[in-house]
Protein backbone atom coordinates (compact mmCIF):
# COMPACT_ATOMS: atom_id res chain seq x y z
CA UNK A 1 0.00 0.00 0.00
CA UNK A 2 2.59 2.53 1.12
CA UNK A 3 4.76 1.26 -1.69
CA UNK A 4 1.99 2.12 -4.16
CA UNK A 5 1.77 5.64 -2.77
CA UNK A 6 5.54 6.15 -2.96
CA UNK A 7 5.46 5.01 -6.56
CA UNK A 8 2.61 7.40 -7.35
CA UNK A 9 4.42 10.29 -5.68
CA UNK A 10 7.57 9.52 -7.61
CA UNK A 11 5.61 9.46 -10.87
CA UNK A 12 3.94 12.74 -9.97
CA UNK A 13 7.34 14.24 -9.19
CA UNK A 14 8.63 13.23 -12.58
CA UNK A 15 5.61 14.73 -14.35
CA UNK A 16 6.09 17.97 -12.41
CA UNK A 17 9.77 18.08 -13.27
CA UNK A 18 8.93 17.58 -16.94
CA UNK A 19 6.37 20.39 -16.82
CA UNK A 20 8.90 22.57 -15.02
CA UNK A 21 11.38 22.00 -17.85
CA UNK A 22 8.85 23.26 -20.39
CA UNK A 23 7.99 26.23 -18.17
CA UNK A 24 11.66 27.19 -17.84
CA UNK A 25 11.94 27.15 -21.64
CA UNK A 26 8.83 29.31 -22.01
CA UNK A 27 10.10 31.67 -19.29
CA UNK A 28 13.49 32.04 -21.00
CA UNK A 29 11.78 32.76 -24.31
CA UNK A 30 9.46 35.40 -22.87
CA UNK A 31 12.19 36.95 -20.69
CA UNK A 32 14.53 37.40 -23.63
CA UNK A 33 11.68 38.75 -25.73
CA UNK A 34 10.86 41.30 -23.03
CA UNK A 35 14.42 42.30 -22.16
CA UNK A 36 16.44 41.74 -25.35
CA UNK A 37 17.02 44.53 -27.90
CA UNK A 38 14.59 44.72 -30.82
CA UNK A 39 17.32 44.12 -33.37
CA UNK A 40 18.83 41.20 -31.51
CA UNK A 41 22.25 40.94 -29.94
CA UNK A 42 24.83 41.86 -32.55
CA UNK A 43 28.55 41.38 -31.97
CA UNK A 44 30.92 42.71 -34.62
CA UNK A 45 28.24 42.70 -37.31
CA UNK A 46 27.16 39.12 -36.55
CA UNK A 47 23.76 38.52 -35.03
CA UNK A 48 24.29 36.00 -32.24
CA UNK A 49 20.83 36.24 -30.67
CA UNK A 50 17.66 36.78 -32.71
CA UNK A 51 15.51 39.88 -32.99
CA UNK A 52 12.82 40.16 -30.40
CA UNK A 53 10.10 41.63 -32.57
CA UNK A 54 6.72 39.91 -32.73
CA UNK A 55 7.58 38.85 -36.25
CA UNK A 56 10.72 36.95 -35.22
CA UNK A 57 9.64 35.81 -31.77
CA UNK A 58 5.88 35.68 -31.26
CA UNK A 59 4.56 35.39 -27.72
CA UNK A 60 4.10 31.82 -26.52
CA UNK A 61 0.51 32.74 -25.77
CA UNK A 62 -0.04 33.79 -29.39
CA UNK A 63 1.43 30.53 -30.63
CA UNK A 64 -1.04 28.59 -28.52
CA UNK A 65 -4.10 30.65 -29.47
CA UNK A 66 -3.30 30.09 -33.15
CA UNK A 67 -4.61 26.56 -32.72
CA UNK A 68 -8.15 27.88 -32.29
CA UNK A 69 -7.92 30.39 -35.16
CA UNK A 70 -9.60 29.50 -38.44
CA UNK A 71 -7.19 28.33 -41.14
CA UNK A 72 -8.34 31.00 -43.62
CA UNK A 73 -10.86 33.78 -43.92
CA UNK A 74 -13.58 31.69 -45.61
CA UNK A 75 -16.53 31.25 -43.33
CA UNK A 76 -16.90 27.80 -41.85
CA UNK A 77 -13.26 26.86 -42.39
CA UNK A 78 -11.53 24.48 -39.95
CA UNK A 79 -9.41 25.73 -37.09
CA UNK A 80 -5.63 25.52 -37.32
CA UNK A 81 -5.78 23.09 -34.41
CA UNK A 82 -7.94 20.56 -36.19
CA UNK A 83 -5.90 20.82 -39.39
CA UNK A 84 -2.66 20.26 -37.47
CA UNK A 85 -4.30 17.42 -35.54
CA UNK A 86 -5.29 15.51 -38.66
CA UNK A 87 -1.89 16.25 -40.23
CA UNK A 88 -0.25 14.81 -37.11
CA UNK A 89 -2.31 11.63 -37.35
CA UNK A 90 -1.41 11.34 -41.05
CA UNK A 91 2.28 11.79 -40.32
CA UNK A 92 2.18 9.48 -37.32
CA UNK A 93 0.60 6.75 -39.43
CA UNK A 94 3.26 7.00 -42.13
CA UNK A 95 6.00 7.17 -39.50
CA UNK A 96 4.61 4.08 -37.74
CA UNK A 97 4.57 2.13 -41.01
CA UNK A 98 8.10 3.32 -41.73
CA UNK A 99 9.16 2.33 -38.22
CA UNK A 100 7.64 -1.12 -38.66
CA UNK A 101 9.43 -1.70 -41.96
CA UNK A 102 12.67 -0.30 -40.57
CA UNK A 103 12.56 -2.48 -37.46
CA UNK A 104 11.80 -5.59 -39.52
CA UNK A 105 14.61 -4.90 -41.98
CA UNK A 106 17.01 -3.97 -39.18
CA UNK A 107 16.27 -7.17 -37.26
CA UNK A 108 16.70 -9.36 -40.31
CA UNK A 109 20.02 -7.70 -41.12
CA UNK A 110 21.20 -8.06 -37.52
CA UNK A 111 20.24 -11.75 -37.47
CA UNK A 112 22.10 -12.36 -40.72
CA UNK A 113 25.17 -10.55 -39.42
CA UNK A 114 25.04 -12.35 -36.06
CA UNK A 115 24.71 -15.72 -37.78
CA UNK A 116 27.29 -15.30 -40.52
CA UNK A 117 30.58 -13.46 -39.94
CA UNK A 118 30.82 -13.08 -43.69
CA UNK A 119 27.52 -11.22 -43.78
CA UNK A 120 28.80 -8.80 -41.17
CA UNK A 121 32.04 -8.05 -43.03
CA UNK A 122 30.12 -7.70 -46.27
CA UNK A 123 27.21 -5.61 -45.05
CA UNK A 124 28.13 -3.56 -41.99
CA UNK A 125 30.24 -0.96 -43.85
CA UNK A 126 27.42 -0.43 -46.34
CA UNK A 127 24.86 -0.13 -43.58
CA UNK A 128 26.94 2.61 -41.95
CA UNK A 129 27.56 4.25 -45.31
CA UNK A 130 23.83 4.22 -46.12
CA UNK A 131 23.24 6.80 -43.40
CA UNK A 132 25.63 9.30 -44.93
CA UNK A 133 23.46 9.68 -48.04
CA UNK A 134 21.36 12.84 -47.64
CA UNK A 135 17.67 12.08 -47.33
CA UNK A 136 16.81 14.89 -49.71
CA UNK A 137 18.79 13.11 -52.41
CA UNK A 138 17.13 9.74 -52.12
CA UNK A 139 13.56 10.95 -51.70
CA UNK A 140 12.93 11.69 -55.41
CA UNK A 141 14.69 8.44 -56.37
CA UNK A 142 12.44 6.38 -54.13
CA UNK A 143 9.40 8.08 -55.62
CA UNK A 144 10.55 7.50 -59.19
CA UNK A 145 11.36 3.82 -58.58
CA UNK A 146 8.18 3.31 -56.63
CA UNK A 147 5.98 4.77 -59.34
CA UNK A 148 7.10 1.98 -61.65
CA UNK A 149 5.75 -0.69 -59.31
CA UNK A 150 2.32 -2.06 -60.20
CA UNK A 151 1.20 -5.19 -58.42
CA UNK A 152 -2.21 -6.27 -59.65
CA UNK A 153 -4.65 -3.54 -58.68
CA UNK A 154 -2.27 -2.04 -56.13
CA UNK A 155 -0.42 1.08 -57.14
CA UNK A 156 2.55 2.60 -55.36
CA UNK A 157 1.56 5.89 -53.76
CA UNK A 158 3.53 8.83 -52.48
CA UNK A 159 2.58 7.73 -48.98
CA UNK A 160 4.45 4.49 -49.59
CA UNK A 161 7.50 6.45 -50.69
CA UNK A 162 7.42 8.50 -47.51
CA UNK A 163 7.18 5.41 -45.31
CA UNK A 164 10.06 3.76 -47.18
CA UNK A 165 12.21 6.84 -46.67
CA UNK A 166 11.32 6.84 -42.96
CA UNK A 167 12.27 3.17 -42.84
CA UNK A 168 15.58 4.05 -44.48
CA UNK A 169 16.45 6.10 -41.40
CA UNK A 170 14.80 3.80 -38.87
CA UNK A 171 16.47 0.52 -39.81
CA UNK A 172 19.98 1.70 -38.97
CA UNK A 173 19.87 1.96 -35.17
CA UNK A 174 17.92 -1.31 -35.04
CA UNK A 175 20.43 -3.20 -37.16
CA UNK A 176 23.41 -1.94 -35.14
CA UNK A 177 21.72 -2.22 -31.73
CA UNK A 178 20.28 -5.67 -32.35
CA UNK A 179 23.63 -6.94 -33.64
CA UNK A 180 25.32 -5.80 -30.43
CA UNK A 181 22.51 -7.32 -28.37
CA UNK A 182 22.65 -10.67 -30.16
CA UNK A 183 26.38 -10.76 -29.52
CA UNK A 184 26.00 -9.81 -25.86
CA UNK A 185 25.60 -13.20 -24.09
CA UNK A 186 28.53 -14.28 -21.89
CA UNK A 187 30.86 -17.06 -22.93
CA UNK A 188 29.44 -19.09 -20.02
CA UNK A 189 25.93 -18.80 -21.43
CA UNK A 190 27.09 -19.82 -24.89
CA UNK A 191 29.03 -22.78 -23.46
CA UNK A 192 25.93 -23.80 -21.58
CA UNK A 193 23.80 -23.78 -24.73
CA UNK A 194 26.51 -25.74 -26.52
CA UNK A 195 26.61 -28.24 -23.67
CA UNK A 196 22.84 -28.66 -24.02
CA UNK A 197 23.46 -29.54 -27.63
CA UNK A 198 20.89 -27.04 -28.90
CA UNK A 199 21.15 -25.52 -32.34
CA UNK A 200 21.57 -21.89 -33.32
CA UNK A 201 17.87 -21.13 -33.70
CA UNK A 202 16.96 -22.61 -30.36
CA UNK A 203 19.69 -20.72 -28.56
CA UNK A 204 18.59 -17.63 -30.47
CA UNK A 205 15.13 -17.88 -28.96
CA UNK A 206 16.22 -18.93 -25.47
CA UNK A 207 19.35 -16.84 -25.11
CA UNK A 208 20.32 -14.33 -27.76
CA UNK A 209 16.98 -12.63 -28.33
CA UNK A 210 16.15 -12.14 -24.64
CA UNK A 211 19.71 -10.99 -23.98
CA UNK A 212 19.42 -8.41 -26.76
CA UNK A 213 16.39 -6.65 -25.27
CA UNK A 214 18.36 -4.07 -23.23
CA UNK A 215 20.24 -3.13 -26.42
CA UNK A 216 17.16 -3.27 -28.60
CA UNK A 217 14.92 -0.90 -26.62
CA UNK A 218 17.08 2.23 -27.00
CA UNK A 219 17.53 1.28 -30.65
CA UNK A 220 13.76 1.08 -31.13
CA UNK A 221 13.32 4.48 -29.49
CA UNK A 222 15.99 5.98 -31.70
CA UNK A 223 14.31 4.36 -34.69
CA UNK A 224 10.98 5.94 -33.69
CA UNK A 225 12.53 9.41 -33.55
CA UNK A 226 14.34 8.81 -36.84
CA UNK A 227 11.24 7.62 -38.60
CA UNK A 228 9.31 10.75 -37.55
CA UNK A 229 12.12 12.96 -38.83
CA UNK A 230 12.32 10.87 -41.98
CA UNK A 231 8.59 11.16 -42.56
CA UNK A 232 8.51 14.93 -42.12
CA UNK A 233 11.54 15.50 -44.35
CA UNK A 234 10.24 13.08 -46.96
CA UNK A 235 6.83 14.79 -47.01
CA UNK A 236 8.59 18.05 -47.73
CA UNK A 237 10.97 16.75 -50.39
CA UNK A 238 8.34 14.66 -52.17
CA UNK A 239 5.71 17.35 -51.80
CA UNK A 240 3.12 15.08 -50.24
CA UNK A 241 0.03 16.89 -48.93
CA UNK A 242 -1.74 15.96 -45.73
CA UNK A 243 1.13 15.65 -43.29
CA UNK A 244 2.92 17.91 -40.84
CA UNK A 245 5.93 18.32 -43.13
CA UNK A 246 3.89 19.97 -45.84
CA UNK A 247 2.05 22.09 -43.29
CA UNK A 248 5.36 23.45 -41.94
CA UNK A 249 6.20 24.77 -45.42
CA UNK A 250 2.68 26.03 -46.10
CA UNK A 251 2.32 27.94 -42.84
CA UNK A 252 5.83 29.36 -43.05
CA UNK A 253 4.60 31.32 -46.06
CA UNK A 254 1.99 33.06 -43.95
CA UNK A 255 4.55 34.05 -41.32
CA UNK A 256 4.48 37.66 -42.50
CA UNK A 257 0.81 38.13 -41.63
CA UNK A 258 0.56 35.75 -38.72
CA UNK A 259 4.02 35.07 -37.20
CA UNK A 260 2.63 32.63 -34.61
CA UNK A 261 1.01 30.37 -37.18
CA UNK A 262 4.16 28.49 -38.44
CA UNK A 263 4.76 27.30 -34.89
CA UNK A 264 1.57 25.27 -34.86
CA UNK A 265 2.80 22.47 -37.17
CA UNK A 266 6.21 22.58 -35.47
CA UNK A 267 4.54 21.83 -32.15
CA UNK A 268 2.57 19.18 -33.99
CA UNK A 269 5.79 17.53 -35.20
CA UNK A 270 7.19 17.62 -31.67
CA UNK A 271 4.00 15.98 -30.40
CA UNK A 272 4.26 13.23 -33.02
CA UNK A 273 7.83 12.57 -31.93
CA UNK A 274 6.81 12.39 -28.28
CA UNK A 275 3.95 10.02 -28.99
CA UNK A 276 6.23 7.79 -31.06
CA UNK A 277 8.88 7.69 -28.32
CA UNK A 278 6.19 7.09 -25.70
CA UNK A 279 4.77 4.15 -27.63
CA UNK A 280 8.20 2.54 -27.67
CA UNK A 281 8.43 3.22 -23.93
CA UNK A 282 5.33 1.05 -23.53
CA UNK A 283 7.11 -1.78 -25.33
CA UNK A 284 9.87 -1.36 -22.75
CA UNK A 285 7.37 -1.82 -19.94
CA UNK A 286 6.15 -5.06 -21.48
CA UNK A 287 9.72 -6.34 -21.70
CA UNK A 288 10.59 -5.50 -18.11
CA UNK A 289 11.75 -8.98 -17.01
CA UNK A 290 14.28 -8.95 -19.84
CA UNK A 291 15.77 -5.71 -18.57
CA UNK A 292 16.81 -6.98 -15.16
CA UNK A 293 20.42 -7.06 -16.28
CA UNK A 294 20.31 -3.26 -16.73
CA UNK A 295 20.00 -2.66 -13.00
CA UNK A 296 21.71 -5.76 -11.65
Amino acid sequence: MTQGITKLLRLLGRVLLGALGVLVLVGAWEAYKALGPDNGVVVGGNTILPRTTDLAMPHVWDMLTTFSDPVNSFSGSDTVGSVVWSACLFTLKLAAIGWGIGVAVGLVLALLMARFRLAETAMLPWIVLSQTVPLIAIAPLVRRWGSQIHLGGWVWSSENSVSVIAAYLAFFPVAVGALRGLRSPDATHLDLMHAYGVGWWRSLVKLRLPASVPYLLPALRLAAASSVIGTVVAEVSIGLRGGVGRLVIEYAQSAGGDPAKPWAPIFGAVAVGLVAAGAVGLIGLLCRPYRRGETA
Partner: protein
Protein backbone atom coordinates in the same frame (compact mmCIF):
# COMPACT_ATOMS: atom_id res chain seq x y z
CA UNK B 1 31.12 -54.56 -16.88
CA UNK B 2 29.90 -51.01 -16.97
CA UNK B 3 31.99 -48.43 -18.75
CA UNK B 4 33.93 -45.90 -16.72
CA UNK B 5 32.43 -42.44 -16.44
CA UNK B 6 35.42 -40.86 -18.14
CA UNK B 7 38.40 -42.40 -19.85
CA UNK B 8 41.05 -40.06 -21.17
CA UNK B 9 43.84 -41.67 -23.14
CA UNK B 10 46.91 -39.75 -24.27
CA UNK B 11 45.04 -36.52 -24.81
CA UNK B 12 46.96 -33.43 -25.94
CA UNK B 13 45.67 -30.00 -26.77
CA UNK B 14 47.86 -27.51 -28.60
CA UNK B 15 46.65 -23.96 -29.17
CA UNK B 16 48.12 -22.06 -32.08
CA UNK B 17 49.81 -19.09 -30.43
CA UNK B 18 50.94 -15.76 -31.77
CA UNK B 19 53.83 -15.61 -34.24
CA UNK B 20 53.54 -19.33 -34.90
CA UNK B 21 54.50 -20.23 -31.33
CA UNK B 22 52.30 -23.03 -30.15
CA UNK B 23 50.95 -23.27 -26.63
CA UNK B 24 50.78 -26.81 -25.29
CA UNK B 25 47.84 -26.71 -22.89
CA UNK B 26 47.74 -30.46 -22.39
CA UNK B 27 50.41 -33.03 -23.10
CA UNK B 28 49.70 -36.75 -23.17
CA UNK B 29 47.16 -36.85 -20.36
CA UNK B 30 45.75 -40.14 -19.11
CA UNK B 31 42.89 -40.18 -16.63
CA UNK B 32 40.14 -42.55 -15.63
CA UNK B 33 37.13 -41.60 -13.56
CA UNK B 34 34.94 -44.47 -12.37
CA UNK B 35 31.21 -44.29 -11.85
CA UNK B 36 30.30 -42.32 -8.75
CA UNK B 37 33.88 -41.22 -8.14
CA UNK B 38 34.80 -37.67 -7.16
CA UNK B 39 37.99 -36.51 -8.88
CA UNK B 40 39.52 -33.06 -8.52
CA UNK B 41 41.91 -31.47 -10.99
CA UNK B 42 44.28 -29.09 -9.25
CA UNK B 43 47.20 -27.04 -10.46
CA UNK B 44 48.34 -23.48 -11.04
CA UNK B 45 46.91 -21.28 -13.79
CA UNK B 46 47.75 -22.54 -17.24
CA UNK B 47 48.16 -26.20 -16.27
CA UNK B 48 45.30 -27.12 -18.58
CA UNK B 49 42.86 -28.32 -15.94
CA UNK B 50 40.02 -26.26 -17.34
CA UNK B 51 40.98 -27.28 -20.86
CA UNK B 52 40.80 -30.93 -19.81
CA UNK B 53 37.36 -30.35 -18.35
CA UNK B 54 36.20 -28.57 -21.50
CA UNK B 55 37.48 -31.45 -23.61
CA UNK B 56 35.53 -33.95 -21.49
CA UNK B 57 32.48 -31.71 -21.94
CA UNK B 58 33.07 -31.60 -25.72
CA UNK B 59 33.31 -27.81 -25.54
CA UNK B 60 36.82 -28.20 -26.93
CA UNK B 61 38.47 -30.94 -28.98
CA UNK B 62 41.85 -32.60 -28.34
CA UNK B 63 44.56 -32.28 -30.96
CA UNK B 64 45.75 -35.82 -30.17
CA UNK B 65 44.61 -38.78 -28.14
CA UNK B 66 41.16 -40.10 -27.47
CA UNK B 67 38.56 -40.06 -24.76
CA UNK B 68 35.30 -41.71 -23.95
CA UNK B 69 32.48 -40.73 -21.65
CA UNK B 70 30.39 -43.66 -20.47
CA UNK B 71 31.90 -45.68 -23.30
CA UNK B 72 30.87 -43.25 -26.05
CA UNK B 73 32.53 -40.35 -27.73
CA UNK B 74 32.48 -37.06 -25.81
CA UNK B 75 30.39 -35.62 -28.63
CA UNK B 76 27.73 -38.30 -28.32
CA UNK B 77 27.77 -38.02 -24.54
CA UNK B 78 27.11 -34.29 -24.83
CA UNK B 79 24.22 -34.82 -27.23
CA UNK B 80 22.83 -37.52 -24.91
CA UNK B 81 23.07 -35.13 -21.95
CA UNK B 82 25.16 -37.59 -19.99
CA UNK B 83 26.76 -34.83 -17.99
CA UNK B 84 25.70 -31.69 -16.15
CA UNK B 85 28.04 -28.73 -16.05
CA UNK B 86 28.68 -25.75 -13.76
CA UNK B 87 31.13 -22.91 -14.26
CA UNK B 88 32.91 -20.37 -12.08
CA UNK B 89 30.29 -17.80 -13.00
CA UNK B 90 26.91 -19.16 -12.07
CA UNK B 91 25.80 -18.12 -15.57
CA UNK B 92 22.14 -17.78 -14.70
CA UNK B 93 19.92 -16.04 -17.21
CA UNK B 94 18.99 -12.76 -15.47
CA UNK B 95 15.52 -12.55 -17.05
CA UNK B 96 14.45 -15.95 -15.73
CA UNK B 97 13.30 -16.75 -12.23
CA UNK B 98 15.25 -19.27 -10.17
CA UNK B 99 12.89 -22.10 -11.08
CA UNK B 100 12.93 -21.17 -14.78
CA UNK B 101 16.73 -21.18 -14.67
CA UNK B 102 16.82 -24.62 -13.06
CA UNK B 103 14.31 -25.87 -15.61
CA UNK B 104 16.19 -24.42 -18.58
CA UNK B 105 17.90 -27.66 -19.70
CA UNK B 106 14.61 -29.53 -19.40
CA UNK B 107 12.87 -26.80 -21.36
CA UNK B 108 15.33 -26.72 -24.26
CA UNK B 109 15.03 -30.48 -24.52
CA UNK B 110 11.30 -30.20 -24.93
CA UNK B 111 9.94 -31.37 -21.57
CA UNK B 112 6.43 -30.21 -20.86
CA UNK B 113 5.78 -27.55 -18.26
CA UNK B 114 3.94 -29.95 -16.00
CA UNK B 115 6.65 -32.57 -15.77
CA UNK B 116 9.25 -29.81 -15.37
CA UNK B 117 7.54 -28.31 -12.36
CA UNK B 118 7.83 -31.31 -10.08
CA UNK B 119 11.46 -31.94 -11.06
CA UNK B 120 12.40 -28.30 -10.47
CA UNK B 121 10.72 -28.31 -7.06
CA UNK B 122 12.66 -31.44 -6.19
CA UNK B 123 15.96 -29.88 -7.25
CA UNK B 124 15.33 -26.64 -5.37
CA UNK B 125 14.59 -28.73 -2.30
CA UNK B 126 17.89 -30.54 -2.83
CA UNK B 127 19.92 -27.32 -2.89
CA UNK B 128 17.83 -25.72 -0.15
CA UNK B 129 16.32 -22.91 -2.21
CA UNK B 130 12.66 -23.95 -2.27
CA UNK B 131 11.64 -20.57 -0.86
CA UNK B 132 13.35 -18.68 -3.66
CA UNK B 133 11.71 -20.36 -6.65
CA UNK B 134 10.16 -17.12 -7.88
CA UNK B 135 13.10 -14.84 -7.14
CA UNK B 136 15.31 -13.44 -9.86
CA UNK B 137 19.07 -14.14 -9.89
CA UNK B 138 19.97 -10.52 -9.06
CA UNK B 139 18.06 -10.91 -5.81
CA UNK B 140 20.30 -13.78 -4.68
CA UNK B 141 23.75 -13.84 -3.07
CA UNK B 142 26.69 -15.34 -4.95
CA UNK B 143 26.49 -18.58 -3.01
CA UNK B 144 22.78 -18.94 -3.68
CA UNK B 145 23.31 -18.25 -7.39
CA UNK B 146 25.92 -20.98 -7.48
CA UNK B 147 23.51 -23.38 -5.79
CA UNK B 148 20.95 -22.59 -8.48
CA UNK B 149 23.62 -23.35 -11.08
CA UNK B 150 24.33 -26.70 -9.41
CA UNK B 151 20.62 -27.52 -9.33
CA UNK B 152 20.47 -26.68 -13.03
CA UNK B 153 23.45 -28.96 -13.71
CA UNK B 154 21.64 -31.79 -11.91
CA UNK B 155 18.33 -31.18 -13.70
CA UNK B 156 18.56 -34.10 -16.08
CA UNK B 157 19.91 -36.50 -13.45
CA UNK B 158 23.30 -36.82 -15.12
CA UNK B 159 25.63 -39.57 -13.94
CA UNK B 160 28.55 -37.19 -14.41
CA UNK B 161 28.96 -33.69 -13.09
CA UNK B 162 31.61 -31.38 -14.56
CA UNK B 163 32.47 -28.39 -12.38
CA UNK B 164 34.93 -25.67 -13.34
CA UNK B 165 35.90 -23.81 -10.16
CA UNK B 166 32.27 -23.44 -9.13
CA UNK B 167 33.18 -21.97 -5.74
CA UNK B 168 36.10 -19.88 -6.97
CA UNK B 169 34.25 -16.58 -6.66
CA UNK B 170 32.79 -17.23 -3.22
CA UNK B 171 34.10 -16.11 0.15
CA UNK B 172 35.77 -18.70 2.39
CA UNK B 173 32.86 -19.20 4.76
CA UNK B 174 30.28 -19.64 2.00
CA UNK B 175 32.72 -21.83 0.17
CA UNK B 176 33.11 -24.30 3.05
CA UNK B 177 29.36 -24.50 3.46
CA UNK B 178 28.93 -25.12 -0.27
CA UNK B 179 31.54 -27.87 -0.12
CA UNK B 180 29.54 -29.59 2.58
CA UNK B 181 26.39 -29.21 0.46
CA UNK B 182 28.14 -30.66 -2.57
CA UNK B 183 29.31 -33.72 -0.61
CA UNK B 184 25.72 -34.30 0.48
CA UNK B 185 24.29 -33.77 -3.01
CA UNK B 186 26.83 -36.13 -4.56
CA UNK B 187 26.02 -38.78 -1.98
CA UNK B 188 22.32 -38.42 -2.78
CA UNK B 189 22.68 -38.47 -6.56
CA UNK B 190 25.58 -40.91 -6.83
CA UNK B 191 27.00 -38.97 -9.77
CA UNK B 192 30.67 -39.03 -10.71
CA UNK B 193 32.29 -35.60 -10.49
CA UNK B 194 35.21 -33.97 -12.24
CA UNK B 195 35.98 -30.86 -10.23
CA UNK B 196 38.46 -28.18 -11.24
CA UNK B 197 39.84 -26.06 -8.41
CA UNK B 198 42.66 -23.79 -7.27
CA UNK B 199 42.29 -24.69 -3.63
CA UNK B 200 44.18 -27.62 -2.12
CA UNK B 201 41.97 -28.07 0.97
CA UNK B 202 38.88 -27.92 -1.20
CA UNK B 203 40.24 -30.65 -3.48
CA UNK B 204 41.31 -32.84 -0.57
CA UNK B 205 38.05 -32.34 1.31
CA UNK B 206 35.80 -33.18 -1.62
CA UNK B 207 37.62 -35.78 -3.68
CA UNK B 208 38.32 -39.46 -3.64
CA UNK B 209 41.33 -38.69 -5.79
CA UNK B 210 43.21 -35.43 -6.36
CA UNK B 211 44.84 -35.11 -9.78
CA UNK B 212 47.84 -32.78 -9.52
CA UNK B 213 48.83 -30.95 -12.69
CA UNK B 214 51.69 -28.68 -13.75
CA UNK B 215 51.82 -26.09 -16.52
CA UNK B 216 53.92 -25.61 -19.65
CA UNK B 217 53.15 -28.15 -20.88
CA UNK B 218 50.01 -29.16 -18.98
CA UNK B 219 50.68 -32.57 -17.49
CA UNK B 220 49.45 -34.76 -14.68
CA UNK B 221 52.36 -35.25 -12.28
CA UNK B 222 50.62 -37.38 -9.71
CA UNK B 223 47.31 -38.60 -8.40
CA UNK B 224 46.80 -38.49 -4.63
CA UNK B 225 44.15 -40.55 -2.86
CA UNK B 226 42.17 -38.70 -0.25
CA UNK B 227 40.58 -41.07 2.23
CA UNK B 228 38.37 -39.63 4.95
CA UNK B 229 39.49 -42.49 7.17
CA UNK B 230 37.58 -43.79 10.20
CA UNK B 231 33.99 -42.68 9.80
CA UNK B 232 34.24 -42.55 6.02
CA UNK B 233 32.33 -39.26 6.09
CA UNK B 234 33.48 -35.98 4.65
CA UNK B 235 32.37 -33.56 7.34
CA UNK B 236 33.88 -30.90 9.56
CA UNK B 237 35.53 -33.63 11.59
CA UNK B 238 37.44 -34.68 8.51
CA UNK B 239 38.67 -31.10 8.06
CA UNK B 240 40.39 -31.38 11.44
CA UNK B 241 41.68 -34.93 11.01
CA UNK B 242 45.38 -35.70 10.78
CA UNK B 243 44.79 -37.59 7.54
CA UNK B 244 43.32 -34.44 5.98
CA UNK B 245 46.38 -32.35 6.82
CA UNK B 246 48.67 -35.11 5.69
CA UNK B 247 46.98 -35.27 2.27
CA UNK B 248 46.95 -31.47 1.95
CA UNK B 249 50.67 -31.42 2.71
CA UNK B 250 51.30 -34.15 0.16
CA UNK B 251 49.45 -32.27 -2.60
CA UNK B 252 51.17 -29.02 -1.68
CA UNK B 253 54.54 -30.71 -1.83
CA UNK B 254 53.77 -31.99 -5.32
CA UNK B 255 52.60 -28.59 -6.50
CA UNK B 256 55.64 -26.84 -5.13
CA UNK B 257 57.99 -29.13 -6.95
CA UNK B 258 58.99 -31.60 -4.28
CA UNK B 259 59.65 -34.85 -6.06
CA UNK B 260 61.49 -35.31 -9.31
CA UNK B 261 59.53 -35.94 -12.49
CA UNK B 262 60.14 -38.90 -14.73
CA UNK B 263 62.77 -37.01 -16.66
CA UNK B 264 64.66 -36.35 -13.43
CA UNK B 265 64.05 -32.61 -13.67
CA UNK B 266 62.71 -30.71 -10.72
CA UNK B 267 59.28 -29.28 -11.41
CA UNK B 268 59.41 -25.49 -11.08
CA UNK B 269 57.58 -24.07 -8.11
CA UNK B 270 53.94 -23.58 -8.90
CA UNK B 271 52.50 -20.18 -8.40
CA UNK B 272 48.91 -19.13 -8.27
CA UNK B 273 47.81 -22.05 -6.12
CA UNK B 274 45.91 -21.32 -2.98
CA UNK B 275 47.39 -23.26 -0.11
CA UNK B 276 45.03 -22.06 2.56
Amino acid sequence: MRANAVEVTGVSRVFPGRKGREVVALDDVHLTVSEGEFVSLIGPSGCGKSTLLRIIADLDVPTAGSLSVFGKSAHQARLDQDYGIAFQQAGLLPWRTVSDNVGLPLEVHGQSRGSRRSRVAELLELVGLADFARSYPDELSGGMQQRVAIARALAESPRLLLMDEPFGALDEITRERMQGELVRICAETGAAVVFVTHSIPEAVFLSDRVVVMTPRPGRIIDVVDSDPGGSGRRDDEFRDAAGFFHTVARVRELLHGGPATTTGQAVPAARGVETR
